[in-house]
């Protein structure tokens, strides 16, 4: 086996050194009836060339060279070449969690830079080293709000990503966290009045909204924060399209911001791995889950970085930890850090502006033959249309042109009828958008 650095004579010599006559002697601790006496039924050992060919075939079965007008929490953006050039360096790729700070300063400094950039972009004071993804970050935000307020439960906007709400429901059900939902109004935004009433009825720990929300509509965060804070709850804002922060003011009124940083240079990869983000106010940091890198100095006064405030974490606190989370998404967070560095202060805004322009064009051209829902509130780069034809059929039609069309919404929002959710990014060509407009006619 080509990954194993031993000859058979090495093995024999080592067995002799250990003092056993055969390798099976080292497995004699497993009761005989449970020792496997046959080969595993898995595919035979393949050459590297065969492995590449096998996956290339699967890749083709998946269709290649597509244009996406599909978002819904996972976005196709251009990934600068330097990202993969750098994250494939073995020192980043094949290192462990930076517990031994003296030989992990590279990872630690990169995390510190990630935390800083996330703070700059979200308007929060502290950010952790990353979470699994936005869906799990959202439920962690609710649990954190419970610890901070000493209250229980959350009100979640129905315009939060449906799968994120499903994840919240799973956690909530088994932890006895009461979760209710607040609906949206005609412009796609949260029904603030209904939220106010719901808050008056129950002393929840947290209100969770998403902005831009699942429909692409930007919420009135200030108004929602106002009613939430008056009721003594914390406001958590989830951002599933990180690029939006290039041109939309961050939800500075929030107490906790969670985010999906997939758009920052992370491949779509059929849904993961992505990069969840959590940021908050400094005063809440000790209730925050996940790893944190902090600045430190050695005896000689040299600046460096360490994982800090570990007393919140499971390997120290065990069942009293703030969360059972152990890993972060370090390598994916590194992709995001490099992406944020490439675009930086000016480029991120210009990139976001292109996305805004593309989606405005797509919505306008589609709007000529379909109803664009949720008028009257600003959007970023997604929009919902209601068509005469079944959105599934439209999708099939467009696939023939190698365009992946909008997501049919009937499964999640049956009351919207033949609605579908479309997206345009800097990678969506005018020709694709024109073809889409043609197909929905």
């Amino acid at each position: 086996m080509r990954y194993l650095p031993k000859s058979d004579s090495d093995r024999h010599a080592m067995l002799a050194e250990v003092g056993v006559s055969s390798i099976d002697d080292l497995f004699s601790c497993i009761p005989a009836e449970y020792r496997l006496q046959r080969d595993l039924t898995v595919p035979r050992q393949m050459a590297e060339s065969e492995i590449v060919q096998w996956f290339a075939e699967r890749s083709r079965e998946n269709a290649e060279g597509l244009t996406f007008m599909l978002g819904a929490g996972a976005y196709h953006h251009y990934r600068p070449i330097v990202i993969d050039a750098l994250v494939q360096r073995g020192e980043f790729l094949t290192s462990y969690t930076p517990y031994q700070a003296e030989i992990a300063q590279g990872t630690l400094q990169a995390i510190f830079e990630f935390q800083t950039m996330i703070c700059e972009l979200t308007g929060m004071e502290v950010a952790n080293a990353s979470m699994y993804d936005a869906s799990t970050a959202a439920i962690e935000a609710i649990m954190m709000a419970e610890r901070v307020t000493g209250r229980s439960g959350a009100i979640v906007a129905r315009s939060v990503h449906p799968e994120h709400r499903e994840v919240i429901a799973t956690y909530a059900k088994y932890q006895g966290v009461p979760v209710s939902e607040v609906n949206f109004i005609e412009n796609g935004r949260v029904d603030v009045k209904a939220l106010e009433e719901a808050l008056a009825q129950s002393k929840v720990a947290c209100v969770l909204i998403q902005s831009p929300n699942f429909f692409g509509t930007i919420e009135d965060v200030a108004a929602i924060a106002d009613v939430t804070h008056k009721a003594g709850a914390l406001l958590a804002v989830s951002i599933t399209e990180a690029i939006s922060l290039g041109i939309i003011k961050p939800p500075a009124e929030a107490d906790i911001v969670t985010m999906e940083a997939q758009s920052f240079g992370v491949p779509l990869a059929f849904g993961g791995p992505y990069c969840g983000v959590m940021a908050t106010r400094e005063k809440f940091v000790r209730q925050m889950p996940g790893r944190l890198a902090g600045q430190a100095y050695d005896k000689q006064g040299r600046r460096g970085f360490v994982l800090t405030l570990a007393t919140r974490e499971q390997h120290i606190r065990r069942e009293k930890a703030t969360s059972n989370i152990c890993t972060n998404q370090a390598l994916v967070a590194l992709m995001a850090t490099i992406f944020m560095t490439v675009y930086g202060k000016i480029g991120l805004r210009e990139l976001a502006k292109q996305n805004l322009a593309k989606a405005a064009y797509a919505a306008e051209t589609s709007g000529k033959s379909a109803e664009v829902l949720f008028p009257g509130a600003p959007r970023f780069h997604e929009f919902v249309i209601r068509t005469k034809a079944d959105p599934v059929e439209i999708r099939e039609k467009l696939l023939k042109k190698k365009i992946v069309g909008g997501l049919p919404l009937a499964k999640y929002y049956p009351e919207l009828g033949n609605a579908s959710l479309w997206c345009a990014t800097e990678t969506t060509s005018r020709a694709a958008m024109d073809a889409a407009a043609e197909a929905i006619r």
Binding site: P31, L36, N62, D298, G347
Partner: protein, 509 residues
């Protein structure tokens, strides 16, 4: 005479006279990226817009953002140098042995990276129609089938994002199953040798944690478990081989004890790399377990993630698996089934860390049944070779037969004021990553060493030699060890000060 002055009096040559694996070289300094930024530099260039420009102020009004604060402005070459310089400050498997016990730092094959980056894999959208997702679904199906066969279980979910997330999912399955039987029960039994995630996970699901003490050999004691087991106990979480690297030979008896009173046996699969191709948890009574694809199946640790924590289980738990599951249609095509009324629900968005599934499957295909077995055998052989090589130099707290890792204690060295962390730090000077320190908790001052199968005899000999030299240094000049590391860019950080007044982000001075 202070210890510092002794070390200061030693020349670098003295300090490093026994160090064979590594030598010092020039290391580049590098500021934070923000400290290199200046207005007007850029590493980006957008293609010309092919649609009309928009007036963002008009579209967005008051919510338009015009200033991105202290985000950096640097050029491409500076980015390449910045992150390359940072990378050189990390130790990595690619540089040498990384014997972190329990973490399984094995070789991460580059073909895994290559196939994960194929267009149809890397650029597949999770919501693209199934008709153009057959390749991705096929990867998930075949990986599932392989993992089911390797574990001896009946079914699996790939959705959990990491090991702890897998524990969470697995215990939810237990809870949902017991609820369907009429009573979710109140407690989970956890051995005192367990990973910290086990009790943290049980608490997250609302179970009380009842710790069960290991016996004098560091092993599970069936009598103690029998005494603790009653109708209030939902499950026991067992790591097997356990965290001292020893196979729990009473595991089937423990399964019987649990099953007799309606409880289930959860196995933490962190150490599955000691069993692949040699024994299957499903055969020795395990009902549900998670796997760490980033340990046993070689997906890269990446400095702390991403992981992937599939959960395999027996038939009785299948109705409760998270939605969706991949199923095969009669025509052989694959589809995602969401119609699962008894499901615990979703544990994360989409289908899990698919990119890790691709890498893990590439690893399995590169090995085949013979390679997987040989891998396990080599991992166990390597750990036993180290055990033998360090016999007489370090104290073996428990003497049960080692599998893939061996756990010594610092008992001898501690008498001279040298602790496991000091030995670990000195090992850095010798060109190795440290072993895991101070875990498991049942071994005072633990040195937990897991070489994995990826080490040659030559590398193992260098490691054994380094550890022996350190043992000698402890006897002759302990301050060399307690002040270590000496050869790194930075020495030990003041972590107490860092935690007292945390600085968690850069701010302009």
């Amino acid at each position: 005479m202070t210890t510092m002055s002794t070390v200061n009096a030693m020349t670098e040559k003295d300090l490093n006279r026994n160090v064979r694996k590594a030598r010092q070289q020039v290391s580049q300094n590098e500021d934070l990226i923000f400290e290199k930024s200046s207005p007007g530099k850029a590493a980006w260039k957008l293609a010309p817009l092919d649609v009309p420009e928009v007036d963002s102020a008009a579209l967005l009004g008051a919510i338009e953002r015009t200033d991105l604060g202290n985000m950096p402005e640097v050029s491409e070459i500076e980015i390449i140098r910045h992150f390359t310089r940072l990378s050189t400050w990390n130790y990595a498997i690619d540089l040498g042995m990384y014997p972190l016990g329990s973490c399984t730092m094995k070789y991460n094959a580059r073909v895994n990276e290559a196939v994960a980056r194929l267009d149809g894999m890397a650029n597949a959208h999770p919501y693209q129609p199934e008709s153009i997702s057959q390749g991705a679904l096929r990867v998930m199906k075949i990986l599932s089938d392989c993992l089911i066969e390797i574990t001896g279980m009946d079914t699996i979910t790939l959705q959990p994002a990491a090991g702890a997330h897998g524990e969470f999912t697995g215990l939810l399955l237990v809870r949902a199953y017991l609820e369907s039987q009429g009573n979710p029960r109140k407690k989970v039994l956890i051995p005192d040798s367990a990973h910290g995630t086990n009790p943290a996970t049980a608490a997250t699901i609302g179970y009380q944690v009842q710790q069960v003490a290991s016996n004098s050999s560091g092993m599970l004691d069936p009598a103690a478990i029998e005494a603790a087991m009653n109708e209030d106990v939902a499950a026991i979480m067992v790591t097997n081989p356990n965290t001292i690297g020893v196979f729990e030979s009473d595991i089937a008896k423990i399964a019987d004890i649990m099953h007799a009173k309606g409880g289930l046996l959860y196995m933490d699969g962190a150490n599955m790399n000691a069993l692949v191709g040699k024994a299957r948890p499903g055969d020795f009574g395990v009902d549900v377990m998670h796997l760490n694809l980033h340990k046993t199946f070689s997906t890269p640790h990446g400095g702390g993630g991403p992981g992937s924590g599939p959960v395999a289980c027996k038939k009785i738990l299948e109705p409760f698996l998270p939605t969706p599951v991949v199923v095969e249609r009669p025509d052989g095509s694959l589809t995602l089934n969401y119609d699962r009324p008894q499901s615990i629900g979703r544990v994360r968005a989409y289908y899990g860390n698919f990119g890790m599934f691709v890498r893990a499957l590439a690893y399995i295909l590169a090995n085949g049944p013979d390679g997987l077995r040989q891998t396990t055998e080599d991992a166990v052989l390597n750990a036993n070779y180290i055990r033998k090589g360090l016999d007489g130099y370090y104290d073996l707290h428990y003497t049960g037969q080692s599998m893939h890792e061996v756990v010594f204690s610092d008992k001898r060295q501690a008498k001279l004021g040298v602790k496991t962390m000091d030995i670990a730090k000195r090992l850095i000077d010798y060109g190795f990553h440290p072993f895991t320190t101070a875990f498991p908790l049942i071994v005072p001052g633990a040195l937990m060493i897991e070489p994995t199968e990826s080490e040659s005899r030559e590398e193992l000999d260098l490691f054994i030699d380094a550890m022996r030299c350190i043992a000698k240094e402890v006897d002759e000049s302990p301050e060399v060890v307690t002040d270590a590391p000496h050869n790194t860019r930075v020495s030990r950080m003041d972590e107490t000060a860092a935690a007292r007044k945390p600085v968690l982000r850069w701010t302009p001075s």
